[in-house]
C-alpha cells in the first residue's frame, strides 16, 4: 500500500489547509484588535459558501466559467464582511461597553453563531433553487471549471484556493505595511492608548479589522463550497474547532502566524492523518496484529492534539518561538562542521 496519498487528495488537502489558514488569520486579527474569540467565525465563512451556491444556481449554472473564481470569493467575502462588521458594531461593541466580561462576549458570539446558523439553514430550506432543486445539502463540485495537472483531471478549486490565500495574505500584508491606515492598525494592536494619543480613530480600526476578518472568512468559505459534499451550514460546527486550533498553534499574537498555524493544522488533519493511517495499516496492523480499522475519521484528534501540546508546553504558540536564535544555532552548527 502506498504511504503517500495521491495527487488529487494532496491538492484537496492543500486547499482545505489554505482555507483554514485564511479563517485562522481572520480569527487572530479580531482577537488581536478587540480581544474577542469569535465562535461564529466559521459560520460567517459559511455565508460565503451560500453566496457561492446561489451564484452558481442563479448565474453560473452550466457555464463552468473561470469567472466564478473571481466573483464568488469577492461577493461571498463582501457579504461575510458586512455581517461581520454588523455583528461587531451592533452586538459585540454595545455588549462590551455595557461591561460584559470576555466570557459574556464569548457567549454572545456563540449566540450569534446559533442565530446565523439557523437563519442560513432556514434560507437554504425556504429559498427555492432555480436550477439546483434542493439548495440545502446541494453538491456543487460538478460545477467547477475542469483542469488537468500532470495528465490527471483535478478539481480546479484545489489549485485556486492556495493561490487565493497567498494573494489575499499578500494584499493584506501590503495594506498593513504600505498604507498609513494599515500602520495605524498595527499600532493600535500593539498599544491602543498610544495610538489614540496619536489621533488614530481606534474604533474605526476595530471595525475595519472585523470587516477584513469577515472578508477572508467569506472568500475562503466561497471557494470551500466546492469541497463540501453538500453545502450545509452545520459544517461550520466542526470547522470552527480546526480554525481555533490553527489560531492557537499560531499563537493568537500575529496574523501571519495565524495563517501559518491554520495551514499547518489543516495539513496535519488531512495529509497527516492519511499518512499515519497508511503507515498504521501497512506496518502496524500486519506486524502487531492491531485491529484493521481506518484512522482517517480521527483527523480532528490531530488538530486537538496539536492544540493541547501547544497550550500546555508553548502557550505563545509558534509566534512565541524564538526563531532567530534557532536559526543562529543552526548556522553555528553548520559553521562548526
Amino acid at each position: 500500500m502506498a504511504i503517500l496519498p495521491g495527487i488529487t487528495y494532496t491538492l484537496s488537502s492543500l486547499a482545505y489547509a489554505a482555507a483554514i489558514g485564511l479563517l485562522s488569520m481572520g480569527l487572530t486579527l479580531t482577537y488581536l484588535t478587540t480581544r474577542i474569540p469569535n465562535f461564529a467565525h466559521a459560520t460567517i465563512g459559511m455565508i460565503g459558501s451560500i453566496v457561492m451556491l446561489l451564484l452558481i444556481d442563479r448565474v453560473f449554472y452550466g457555464s463552468q466559467s473561470w469567472l466564478i473564481y473571481l466573483l464568488g470569493p469577492l461577493a461571498g467575502g463582501v457579504a461575510a464582511a458586512a455581517f461581520s462588521v454588523l455583528m461587531y458594531r451592533a452586538i459585540l461593541k454595545p455588549l462590551a461597553d455595557r461591561g460584559n466580561s470576555i466570557i459574556g462576549l464569548m457567549i454572545a458570539t456563540l449566540a450569534v453563531d446559533i442565530i446565523l446558523l439557523n437563519i442560513l439553514t432556514l434560507i437554504l430550506n425556504v429559498v427555492p433553487g432555480e436550477n439546483i432543486p434542493k439548495l440545502i445539502g446541494a453538491n456543487i463540485i460538478g460545477f467547477q471549471p475542469k483542469i488537468r495537472v500532470a495528465g490527471v483531471v483535478v478539481d480546479s478549486y484545489t489549485i485556486i484556493l492556495p493561490v487565493a490565500a497567498l494573494v489575499l495574505a499578500t494584499v493584506f500584508h501590503l495594506f498593513l505595511t504600505r498604507t498609513s491606515f494599515g500602520v495605524a492598525m498595527r499600532a493600535t494592536i500593539e498599544n491602543p492608548d498610544l495610538a489614540s494619543a496619536m489621533g488614530v480613530n481606534v474604533n474605526l480600526v476595530y471595525m475595519v479589522s472585523w470587516a477584513f476578518s469577515g472578508f477572508l472568512a467569506g472568500a475562503a468559505g466561497a471557494l470551500m463550497a466546492f469541497a463540501f459534499k453538500g453545502v450545509d451550514p452545520a459544517v461550520s460546527a466542526l470547522v470552527i474547532v480546526t480554525v481555533f486550533a490553527g489560531s492557537i498553534v499560531g499563537g493568537l499574537t500575529s496574523i501571519y502566524w495565524g495563517l501559518i498555524g491554520g495551514v499547518l493544522v489543516g495539513l496535519a488533519e488531512k495529509l497527516g492523518t492519511t499518512i499515519i493511517n497508511n503507515m498504521y495499516r501497512a506496518f502496524l496492523v500486519p506486524s502487531l496484529g492491531l485491529p484493521n480499522i481506518s484512522l482517517v475519521n480521527y483527523e480532528k484528534v490531530m488538530s486537538l492534539g496539536l492544540v493541547i501540546i501547544v497550550l500546555l508546553y508553548a502557550p505563545q504558540g509558534l509566534a512565541g518561538v524564538d526563531w532567530e536564535s534557532i536559526l543562529r544555532r543552526i548556522k553555528r552548527a553548520r559553521g562548526g562542521e
Binding site: 455588549l95 454572545a108 449566540a111 446559533i114 439557523n118 425556504v126 492557537i248 480532528k300 486537538l304
Partner: protein, 387 residues
C-alpha cells in the same frame, strides 16, 4: 403519569436534567470562573455509561449466567448481521435492528427479572458514570489551573467537540456511532425511575451547591473569580477547591445525562451537541443570573417552558409565518434563544436575579476568615500599592 398541556413525563425529566446541568455549570462558571464550554461531553458520559458500557457489561453477564439463551440471541441477530459473535456484540449491534433485538428482547428482561443482577449492574453503571466524569473532570481541571480563561474556554469546547463528534459519533464500535445505541434501562418502569432519580439528583445538587456557595470557601472562590489580587493571595488554597468544584460539577452533569438516557432508552452522540447541552445551559444560567443557584433553577424552568410552548404550537405559528411546521419547531426556537441571550447580556449583564450580595462579605474580612490575618494584611496592602 403526567400528561397535561405541555407537561409530560419526559418533559419533566428534561427539566430536571437541565436543572442539574445548570447547577453544575453554575458551580464551575459562576463560582469558580471556569468557563466550561464543553459541558455536552460531560452530559454525554452518563449516556455512554448506560449504552456503550452498560450494554457490554450486561451482555457479558448474560452470557455467563445464561449461555444457552445467549447463543439463541446470537442466532436471531445472525440473520441481520452475518458472522456476529458475542464478544463483539456491541460492534455487531451497530446495526440498529440487531441492537434493538439484543438490548430490548434479551438484555433488558434479563436485567429487570434478576434483582441481584439489576442492583449490581446499576452500581456498576453509576460507578462507571462517576469514574468517567471524574477522569474527564481531572483533565479539565489540569487545564483550568494553567490557562487563561479564554484559552480554557476554547480548549474545553474543542476537546468536547472532538470527543463527542469524532470519537463517539464516528466510531460505531464504541457506541453505535451515528446510528446510536439502545441503552440498558433499570426497573420495570424506567421512566418513573428516571423521574425519581433525576428529582433526587436535582435536590441533592441544589443543596450541595447552596452549601458550597454560602461557605467561606464559596465566598473565597467568588472573590478569586472577581479579583486578581485575591487570586494571587489565595492562589494555592483555591486550587484544590477549584479542582473539587470541577470534579463535583462533572459528576453531576454525567449523572444527569444518565437519568436523561433512562427516559429516552437510547442515545446517539450527536444529540449531545454543543448547542443542546452546552449553549442552552449557559443560556439558562445567564438568564437566571451567574453565581446564583436559585437563579439557575428558575432560569432553567422559565427557559424550557418557553421553548416547549413554542414547539407545542409550532403548527399554528408555522401557518402564521408561512413556514413549514418542522422548521418552526427546530429553527425558530434556536434563533429566538440566541436573540434572548443577547438581550439579557445587554439589558442585565447580571441576569434576572442578580448575584446575592448580602451573603458576600468584605474582602478583608473574607481574607481573615479563610487564610488568617497574615495573608489578609498582605492582601490589603497589595490593594493599596496598586498605583
Amino acid at each position: 403519569m403526567v400528561n397535561w398541556w405541555i407537561f409530560s413525563d419526559s418533559f419533566l425529566i428534561t427539566i430536571l436534567a437541565y436543572i442539574v446541568v445548570s447547577i453544575s455549570l453554575n458551580l464551575e462558571a459562576g463560582f469558580t470562573g471556569v468557563p466550561n464550554f464543553g459541558k455536552h461531553l460531560f452530559v454525554f458520559l452518563g449516556a455512554f455509561a448506560a449504552q456503550g458500557i452498560g450494554v457490554r457489561i450486561a451482555a457479558w453477564l448474560y452470557q455467563v449466567v445464561n449461555p444457552e439463551a445467549a447463543s439463541q440471541a446470537l442466532k436471531e441477530v445472525g440473520r441481520l448481521v452475518p458472522g456476529a459473535h458475542w464478544s463483539s456484540i456491541v460492534e455487531a449491534a451497530a446495526d440498529t435492528g440487531a441492537n434493538r433485538i439484543i438490548v430490548n428482547s434479551y438484555l433488558k428482561p434479563f436485567v429487570v427479572e434478576n434483582l441481584a443482577v439489576e442492583i449490581a449492574l446499576l452500581f456498576i453503571v453509576l460507578g462507571v458514570t462517576i469514574l468517567l466524569a471524574m477522569i474527564f473532570g481531572l483533565l479539565a481541571s489540569y487545564a483550568a489551573l494553567r490557562l487563561r480563561e479564554e484559552y480554557l474556554a476554547i480548549l474545553l469546547l474543542s476537546f468536547s467537540e472532538l470527543m463527542v463528534m469524532v470519537v463517539f459519533y464516528q466510531t460505531e464500535s464504541l457506541n453505535g456511532g451515528n446510528k446510536g445505541l439502545w441503552a440498558i434501562t433499570f426497573t420495570h418502569n424506567p421512566i418513573r425511575f428516571a423521574l425519581i432519580g433525576s428529582a433526587v439528583l436535582a435536590v441533592l445538587a441544589f443543596i450541595y451547591a447552596e452549601r458550597l456557595a454560602n461557605s467561606p470557601m464559596g465566598r473565597a472562590m467568588r472573590a478569586v473569580r472577581d479579583d486578581e489580587i485575591a487570586a494571587s493571595v489565595f492562589g494555592r488554597d483555591i486550587a484544590s477547591i477549584r479542582l473539587k468544584a470541577i470534579i463535583a460539577a462533572s459528576v453531576l452533569a454525567a449523572l444527569a445525562g444518565f437519568f436523561y438516557t433512562q427516559n429516552n432508552a437510547s442515545a446517539t452522540a450527536i444529540t449531545f451537541n454543543r448547542v443542546i447541552w452546552t449553549f442552552l445551559p449557559w443560556a439558562m444560567i445567564i438568564l437566571g443570573g451567574m453565581a446564583n443557584n436559585k437563579g439557575a433553577v428558575i432560569g432553567t424552568i422559565v427557559f424550557l417552558i418557553g421553548k416547549r410552548i413554542f414547539e407545542y404550537y409550532q403548527e399554528p405559528i408555522g401557518k402564521l409565518l408561512h413556514i413549514q411546521a418542522e422548521l418552526v419547531g427546530s429553527m425558530l426556537p434556536n434563533i429566538l434563544i440566541g436573540i434572548l441571550i443577547l438581550l439579557v447580556l445587554y439589558l442585565r449583564p447580571q441576569g434576572i436575579i442578580p448575584e446575592h450580595m448580602s451573603k458576600t462579605i468584605e474582602f478583608s474580612k473574607l481574607a481573615e476568615e479563610v487564610v488568617g490575618k497574615e495573608n489578609a494584611r498582605e492582601g490589603s496592602s497589595a490593594q493599596r500599592e496598586e498605583d
